[in-house]
Symmetry: C2
């Protein structure tokens, strides 16, 4: 068996930023690395081309009557900027204390390595394990998986006979409290670009004559929330799913106090949606956030300019049963209605994803026709987590989005068992991302136990 930590370092050294074409070599490098690793533990690896970044599909065949698990992961990572805020370079992984630092260590290279290593060890120990395993590792998750639905449709006949999907791309509150993620928020993203004059202007000669595009954009952005923390877009909350009582009870067991969370964030006070705790607000309600804003001079000193253009990048998180198409339409209508006539503007579509919910076995709202192998996998996860981490998992919806989980259900009819592995302090999507090596080691043990239990029935 390979050394999982050394292999993770090697994986992180490939700068696989999918959204930026400058990182094409990093994408290729990461893909070839994963393909090689899976071959080394006995898998038949296929690199399936898509419109953009290929998907790695690796199979361990076997008796068609065996249970069949698809293990999902992604080999791409978020951009690493602002680079100057990293203690050590983003793509030069370094272990400090019990953590490994680098872009993608937690999202998703570390958790993916956890499962590859678990499978490697399990098959070394039990070479005749009665379990069909397919690794399905994509390269576009951080840009919204634009090619993945087409890939799923193309591979549908081959993949839909599986029983469930297993993955780790969600979070946990503490090292000793694993979460099985039962829901994910959906996404709608867009850019809004406002143009004032056709060129940058001297703010003295022309100031007071026209609406500055930064002002127009600020006025738009300020209009998109109400003081109680809600999104101020008519119809935005129409389809929001009522929270199940067992979900609130499960969330109450989280064990993190609001004061601990506030200190972790380093904010003077929360600004959650009125009537919801911060923990509830992030999981049970939709949001509208500004991911970036820019216009005019941002350097040192001053430049007395009225810029020609200003841009904001917006993302909405959706909960069941909101749909990206409806939320996009409502948001765009609000933007169009509010933009003043003395500027021009355009809205640029970015990616989107459906929200997702799966109910574990034995709950009041568990579907009566839930697949037996899926139910078995949930129970195996409950037992394995309790053994390895010392306490059973919590079953929670999460604020983040993995849009392909909803795509997989839509196209393949399969639900997912999402074993959370990353901690709040892992700094996902931010400088100094890291992954906890203790969680990784225990995660490997848990993954191995879960897969073995699913195989043995």
């Amino acid at each position: 068996m390979f050394d999982p930590i050394e292999k993770l370092k090697e994986f992180v050294r490939h700068p696989s930023v999918s959204t930026d074409p400058k990182f094409a070599a990093g994408m290729t490098g990461a893909r070839e690395f994963v393909a090689g690793l899976l071959r080394s533990i006995g898998f038949a690896v296929e690199v399936v081309p898509t419109a953009l970044h290929p998907v790695i599909l690796a199979e361990r065949g076997g008796d068609p009557k065996w249970p069949h698990v698809i293990i999902y992961g992604h080999y791409d990572v978020q951009p690493a900027d602002p680079l100057n805020l990293w203690t050590t370079p983003a793509f030069a992984p370094e272990i400090r204390g019990r953590r490994i630092y680098g872009r993608g260590t937690a999202d998703n290279k570390g958790p993916l390595m956890t499962h590859i290593a678990a499978v490697g060890r399990l098959l070394e120990r039990v070479p005749d394990l009665p379990l069909r395993i397919t690794f399905m590792i994509e390269g576009e998750e951080e840009m919204g998986s634009p090619s993945f639905p087409a890939f799923l449709a193309q591979q549908r006949d081959r993949l839909r006979k599986a029983d469930f999907v297993f993955l780790s791309d969600t979070g946990i509150p503490r090292e000793d409290q694993i979460v099985i993620t039962c829901g994910l928020r959906g996404l709608v993203l867009c850019d809004v670009e406002v143009t004032g004059a056709k060129m940058d202007l001297h703010s003295g000669l022309h100031g007071g004559v026209l609406r500055n595009p930064i002002q127009a954009l600020a006025e738009l952005c300020a209009s998109l929330h109400t003081p109680d923390g809600r999104v101020n877009v008519p119809g935005f909350y129409d389809d929001v799913f009522e929270v199940e009582p067992w979900e609130r009870a499960e969330l109450a067991k989280l064990g993190q106090s609001e004061e601990q969370y506030r200190e972790f964030l380093g904010i003077p006070a929360f600004h959650a949606t009125e009537g919801f705790s911060p923990f509830e607000s992030a999981r049970f309600l939709p949001t509208l956030e500004f991911n970036g804003i820019g216009g005019g001079y941002q350097g040192e000193g001053t430049k007395t300019v009225i810029p020609s253009k200003a841009l904001v990048k917006i993302s909405c998180r959706l909960v069941p049963n909101q749909t990206p198409a409806k939320i996009r339409a409502l948001l765009y209508a609000a933007i169009r209605a509010r933009m003043p006539a003395d500027v021009t503007f355009r809205i640029v579509d970015q990616h989107e994803g459906m929200p997702y919910v799966v109910v574990p076995p034995g709950r009041p709202n568990t579907p009566p026709d839930q697949r037996p192998v899926l139910a078995r996998a949930f129970r195996a996860a409950d037992t394995a987590v309790a053994e390895v981490f010392g306490r059973p998992p919590l079953y929670l919806r999460e604020g983040g989005s993995v849009p392909i989980i909803a795509d997989i259900r839509r196209v393949l009819g399969l639900d997912s068992v999402m074993l959370g592995l990353f901690l709040p302090e892992d700094n996902l999507h931010a400088p100094n991302e890291s992954f906890h090596l203790g969680v990784m080691a225990q995660g490997m043990l848990a993954s191995e136990k879960i897969l073995e239990a699913v195989a043995r029935g």
Copy 2:
């Protein structure tokens, strides 16, 4: 005599961006170039050190009883970014049609070269001209001249015996309509930086929990204007100087239609202060503009982050009798009162300058004790401009700021004759800045005539 166009090209090739320490060599180069040129036409040149960029002081002495003019200019320029919007590189001057393109061609290297060439020609033609001339050329105008007041105080005894200051650092509406600028707006600049969480956050995991600093900044910016185009800061308009009737009449002669101006700017509609035309709004009223805004991810594609910080760069233009100290205090009080308690923020002072007014001779409100040589210079300018450009100048206040003009009056007691030379299409402070070579040639003739008439009395 040197070739003024060739010398201007040489001047523009020195990238003298004063606000950015990376351009130190360009500053030195531009300074040495000007010093050499002035020596070549017979001036005794002194490079006077200051806390930052030295001032060039060049004298042609003579009989103390001769009239004495100080010609002001600046050898520094604005930053050239965004560089990708320049047709030819900012510091590689190029003549296309009747224009010379490059950063600083209009602001202020071209107009300064106009006066140096006029003096050179005049002294070649009339070597015994009874006129004392001092060139005073600074290197910090584009960053608010932080060292200039101290320089003036240090050189006070030597400079205060002059009669007036002569310069070209203001604008004209058309090639055939010169403006003598009688007023300038003042300035107050600051940055506001808002901090939310102590690090960038994943907008899924934490969205809905805290106030995004971009949202807080947008809400602040949106609060700073009222729908009628006024600045929404209590007390902001308290000290605004009433416009003189002759000023409105003079502005009415401008000869540019609102439609022409709107097309020049390329905007769908004006957004001037209610009750004022766009031309009046830019000259007679104060403003608050956003010169830049930035926060979060601004690149291609998406990055679903809640940024830790967001920044806006604000500038206010002031009119007589507003003072920077009072406006700064009012603005900061409004910002502090409006910023929500769930974010932290800091306000960073940038530079400031007093507004300025000088009334030409023969107006209802001309000061009775106006200096005879200043009045003579105004009359000489009136005659020379009418002869060279075919019509007399207009006497207008301008929206831009040259804060040192107020400093010169405060420290030396001298008023300024500001012969406007740059056109709206010169793109000051913007990409593709240029200077009109016809205006330059006529400006040289006018400057020569004005100086000769002042000398001859």
